[in-house]
């Protein structure tokens, strides 16, 4: 998609928004991400009933109730598994997982890795604010090691990990990063991610103004990628591991075959199976 092309919505983004008022704090980055998601769905002209938004637990995971799409608000960290089951059962649906850094990378880390590896056709949107917001300010796997908090005075002493590099190593088929302060940019990334076959991972830096007020300065730190996306995982790996974590854009577009163990038309004739057991 041409970056210069404006997003002209054939559906209105309002068609995807429910009447439920978000619980997010004023100024939360997630408002922008939600808006970007609705713009992307509108641009793709996806009927709301053909879209399923699956989430776990956390501020970001509240999104399903705020949409007019089908939603599933499950347990902490397991949304990629729910989405996998749904997509295999109903391959015609557009399946999007909305998650946060604690949900996707900590409690859900194993499912994150294996969802990347399995490559079911879905999109994982992680709103990364480098903190647990809903439980009022604990460090997550992307929080800097020296960030002081009540639960870890003086910092955790544990280095944050690089989720995009993990996704690449695990086999994700599309890897991108956006910034919630650039809703148009995030919408474009999401359009590409949803359209690309297989498992797409989009990390959106989404400041938590309440527990990480310093993240308001992220808008001065983010910078868009000066290079085109690569299809070569080795090149993408080098870029991701040498990146400062604030580069936005598409890092990697793969062409791995999509996982296709989908449920088909059911045959209810069990006679051949039962005959195997006859004695």
């Amino acid at each position: 998609m041409n970056k210069a092309e404006p997003l002209i919505a054939r559906y209105s983004h309002k068609d995807y928004k429910s009447a439920v008022k978000p619980i997010w704090c004023p100024g939360c980055g997630h408002f922008g991400v939600e808006s970007s998601l609705f713009r992307a769905l509108a641009y793709l002209e996806l009927p709301p009933e053909q879209v399923a938004i699956i989430s776990g637990i956390g501020c970001s995971s509240r999104i399903p109730a705020y949409t007019q799409c089908y939603g599933f608000h499950g347990v902490h960290g397991r949304a990629p598994a729910v989405a996998t089951g749904l997509k295999l059962a109903r391959p015609e649906l557009t399946v999007i997982v909305t998650s946060g850094d604690g949900d996707a990378f900590s409690i859900g880390g194993n499912h994150f890795i294996h969802a990347c590896r399995r490559n079911v056709d879905m999109t994982l949107l992680v709103m990364d604010n480098e903190v647990y917001g809903m439980t009022k300010g604990q460090p997550s796997p992307t929080t800097p090691a020296d960030w002081d908090s009540k639960i870890a005075p003086g910092g955790t002493g544990v280095n944050p990990f690089a989720p995009l590099a993990v996704a690449l190593a695990s086999g994700a088929n599309f890897i991108a990063r956006g910034f919630s302060g650039d809703p148009n940019g995030v919408a474009r990334l999401l359009v590409e991610a949803i359209q690309h076959p297989g498992f797409s991972f989009v990390q959106v830096l989404s400041p938590c103004v309440t527990y990480r007020p310093e993240e308001k300065f992220w808008k001065k730190m983010v910078h868009s990628s000066s290079v085109e996306p690569t299809h070569d995982p080795a090149v993408a790996g080098h870029r991701l591991l040498s990146d400062d974590g604030f580069t936005t854009g598409v890092f990697y577009i793969g062409n791995r075959p999509t996982y296709t163990a989908t449920v088909g038309t059911s045959d209810n004739d069990l006679s051949a199976i039962e005959e195997e057991l006859a004695i």
């Binding site: 439920v20 009927p47 709301p48 009933e49 053909q50 399923a52 699956i54 509240r62 399903p64 109730a65 949409t67 007019q68 799409c69 089908y70 939603g71 599933f72 608000h73 499950g74 347990v75 397991r78 949304a79 598994a81 729910v82 989405a83 996998t84 089951g85 749904l86 997509k87 295999l88 059962a89 109903r90 015609e92 649906l93 194993n110 499912h111 890795i113 294996h114 163990a261 989908t262 449920v263 088909g264 038309t265 059911s266 045959d267 209810n268 069990l270 051949a272 199976i273 039962e274 057991l277 006859a278 004695i279």
Partner: protein
């Protein structure tokens, strides 16, 4: 019995198959150590002219291919002075505990003979010998051997020679007269099937077309048997990264409208409980078949126990009413699992089916279970433009479920407490209304007669559940022959409880026996919590892996607690 790899289990399976071909009923149960190779393996075969569902009290014949690890499971093989032990001369010395039984020991040159015959192995010689001893025509045994072993390179001629040589061995030792052949059975009406296969088939009959699983003993063979057959029916079984993912994939697929299940054992069930609570709250149908093994923790993965009753009943956090069912025999694994699918789909509620290693991995000859009547499909919301309340408070507590893709019925399935519409709510009134709804739908449903199997009449009632029902039913039959009127109530539906039906079934009871295979008497305490029992109550509650045998139940029935 023999060391792992000696072929004890194969010998037992082939013997049962050959016996089944000529009209015997039978049951093969397995006991193995944790090792994949080089451990120990025991195949316990019980044959009878009538259907067999459980262990007996003793064994007539023990064939020892070797004695290397026999002491580890000799407690599982009760022998007496009427028993015959046929042991390989090359198999080492029998353990003193074996000799102390008084059984008649004969050593035979299985290995020496096998070395002289091309393609032969000691277990094949033993099979030929057993076949001759039991009066099973050698043709039938040969066919069973060729069906199973020809793809391992055994030729028909070599199999025939080895079996014949084994049969000849019976002339070298004295033994009691041969068994009369059983009445021939109608062909086509009978199955050779394991409980795990039966559970898989029940799920398929019930309409399950998606399964997500994680390997765990002793449930894995259920998943492995189901996977290719599910594909043939247009479905899928996939291996998830762990049990938590399995359970969540199942909810995702079921949310998508496909009846779905997972298959596990104790440790896996423990990992699934949080998500089962989600299925309760979000009202998503899902079936978990839990093939119980010895616990807690890794416990005894290869051997049976009824100790997951508590976690199945009480393991979910919060007030989370759900379905718990228990299979009672190999064949009943089919019936109960299929019923669980029906109930789960109808009531939009997760169902845990408790099977166990004994039933799951036992191979038996049984009559084809009759198909259950077709159940109405899940109550679905059709497309529409009017207001849709996913969790509407209906009279029977069941609210139509919209499947993603249905126009105008978008909603969020939510583990957060919600109002009737599905919007998250932490209000007291919504919480109470939804708790009542989820409780009501299970309580108002008419489960019919299938909630328990009830056998006989009498003031003495034996209450049991799961695979121990087989030993209890056998003991009750023997007790009646001794003049004691005994009624057996074996519960199939453990949750929700059925107080009215139980009160009717227990009318006139003056003495109750509770029989279960758990150290802490989980079933007894469950009964105490929910059902009135008569003043006189006696309990057999023993952990695995030793099975509850008919003789000890009979002894308690006839003589009471005399210790």
């Amino acid at each position: 019995m023999g060391s792992g790899g000696a072929g004890a289990i194969t010998t037992g399976s082939l013997l049962l198959e050959a016996a089944g071909q000529v009209g015997w009923y039978g049951l093969l149960t397995r006991s193995v150590g944790p090792q994949i190779r080089g451990g120990e393996a025991l195949a316990m075969v019980r044959l009878a002219p009538t259907p067999v569902t459980g262990h007996g009290d003793r064994y007539d014949v023990l064939v020892a291919l070797d004695w290397h690890n026999a002491s580890r499971f000799i407690a599982e093989v009760p022998l007496d002075e009427k028993s015959l032990i046929l042991a390989d001369t090359e198999g080492g010395d029998p353990p003193p505990a074996i000799l102390a039984t008084g059984a008649h020991l004969v050593t035979l040159p299985f290995t020496d003979l096998a070395d002289e015959l091309p393609g032969a192995r000691p277990n094949l010689l033993a099979l030929g010998m057993l076949s001759e001893l039991l009066g099973i025509p050698m043709d039938s045994t040969t066919q069973a051997v060729i069906r199973t072993l020809s793809d391992k390179g055994l030729s028909a001629a070599h199999a025939t020679d080895a079996l014949a040589a084994g049969g000849q061995l019976t002339t070298t030792f004295p033994h009691t007269q041969r068994l009369a052949p059983p009445k021939p059975r109608d062909t086509g009406r009978y199955w050779l099937i394991t409980g795990n296969q039966a559970a898989a088939l029940g799920a398929l009959r019930g309409g399950v077309r998606f399964a997500a699983v994680y390997p765990i003993t002793p449930a894995t063979d259920l998943s492995e048997w189901m996977a290719p057959r599910l594909q043939k029916l247009g479905g899928q079984l996939i291996q998830a990264e762990d049990e938590i993912a399995s359970m969540n994939m199942v909810l995702g697929a079921s949310f998508g409208g496909i009846p779905s299940m997972t298959i596990t054992s104790g440790p896996g069930l423990a990992l699934m409980t949080e998500t089962l609570g989600l299925a309760v709250a979000a009202e998503i149908p899902a079936v978990v078949v839990n093939v119980m093994r010895g616990g807690p923790s890794t416990g005894i993965p290869t051997k049976s126990e009824q100790s997951d009753l508590n976690i199945a009943l009480y393991g979910l956090h919060g007030d989370a009413p759900h379905l718990v069912l228990a299979s009672q025999s190999v064949a009943d694994c089919l019936i109960t699992t299929q019923w669980a699918v029906h109930l789960s789909e109808t009531l939009q509620c997760p169902a845990i089916v408790l099977s166990d290693q004994f039933m799951g991995q036992a191979l038996t000859i049984c009559e084809r279970p009759a198909p259950l009547p077709d159940a109405p499909p899940r109550r679905i919301a059709a497309a529409g433009g009017d207001r849709y309340d996913r969790y509407a408070l209906t009279e029977d507590g069941i609210s139509p479920m919209a499947i993603p893709g249905t126009l105008g019925r978008q909603h969020t399935a939510d583990g957060l407490e919600h109002n009737a519409h599905g919007t998250p709510s932490s209000g007291a009134a919504d919480h109470l209304a939804q708790l009542n709804k989820r409780c009501t739908k299970l309580e108002q449903y008419d489960y019919g007669d299938a909630w328990a199997e009830i056998d006989g009449e009498g003031e003495t009632v034996v209450l049991t559940w799961g695979s121990t029902a087989a030993a209890v039913l056998e003991a009750a039959t023997q007790a009646r022959a001794s003049g004691l009127a005994v009624k057996v109530i074996a519960l199939r539906l453990l949750s929700p409880t059925q107080p009215d039906k139980m009160a009717l079934a227990m009318r006139g009871a003056r003495r109750a026996l509770v029989v279960e295979q758990s150290h802490s008497a989980q079933f007894h305490h469950f009964l105490r919590a929910y059902y009135p029992l008569p003043d006189q109550v006696e309990v057999i509650s023993r952990p695995g892996p030793l099975p509850i045998r008919p003789g000890e139940v009979l002894n308690l029935l006839l003589h009471g607690n005399q210790s």
